[in-house]
Symmetry: C3
Subunit: 129 residues, 3 copies
């Protein structure tokens, strides 16, 4: 927790993908202050025809580098979220050459009872986390 | 925003897929009243074995045309949602030949701080949107 | 409802996949008490490079059998959720040989107006469900 789901245009090689996931995880660690191994990431790659990402009139041009990131997380403050968006873009620009114009994020919140990390237990309720 | 995620059985050609996405976007524009370029759509295609869609006892027959649509959105009224379900089915029937019996929708709501459309900013908070 | 989304490492044959989905559905029926045909399941398979599942420091080892299950559901009690996590692991261990260390679940809740199962109607609002 959080769970990060990345939707990307297909074509990255394994190294580039790993670099991207590492960069995103650093942003999670910095902005959300979670444990280092609190890392749950899923990547889905698509043909360009399968991702439509416009700009709500914000005049933002998208490229084949587009990253749509969905985050499922326990509640985070507005400050944490804003810090995450900024940090994520810095990480992706610096380490992956992905422009901040190609980074879209949507968060959905849930609560302690909504997570089980294994053993059939809700670790935020049992006191294990 | 909203973000629409479509899970479909594989096999549509690019034109058919584009027609489907256009139809769904018209329903979003009409029912949610968002800006024209507020368009974020992701399509995932599956083998039939990878989608199980029954009917909760409603006696609804499904076909290979099945559309499972997940919507992540800021809060919408019940009236808006009901209007969207109806409009979506009309659009998909008229333009794609998809029966209203093949259209399943699930919405999840979030709030202003949960969206970043680029530049590492939360545009619903900054006043840009 | 609920909608279950499974992210798995690729490689299961159709029979193994069906067994997994059946096992998960039995857990839903038992723990959430929904109608038998309240079954909505989507499977996405991935290369190992596309799923990163660590353990938040819980010292849980993951294997290629890893199951990341996302559930979108109307509100469930904490007791129901905890029962589901346990039952799911028992089912997957017994029928699929999947260890409880390989089962991660994240729930997201929505409400009555957020579901349409066909016909463009919100069946939890119309009285059909």
């Amino acid at each position: 927790m959080p769970l990060l789901q990345f939707d990307l245009i297909e074509g990255r090689n394994p190294d580039a993908l790993q670099t991207l996931l590492d960069a995103a995880h650093r942003a999670v660690l910095k902005s959300f202050g979670v444990p280092k191994r609190d890392r749950y990431q899923i990547v889905r790659e698509h043909k360009p025809s399968h991702m439509m990402t416009q700009d709500t009139g914000l005049n933002i041009a998208r490229t084949q580098n587009i990253v749509v990131l969905q985050i499922t997380t326990r509640p985070r403050t507005t400050v944490e979220k804003q810090d995450f968006y900024k940090t994520l873009c810095e990480e992706l620009q610096t380490h992956c050459g992905i422009a901040a114009t190609d980074v879209i994020v949507a968060c959905v919140e849930n609560t302690d009872a909504d997570w089980s990390f294994g053993h059939g237990r809700a670790q935020f309720l049992t006191g294990e986390l």
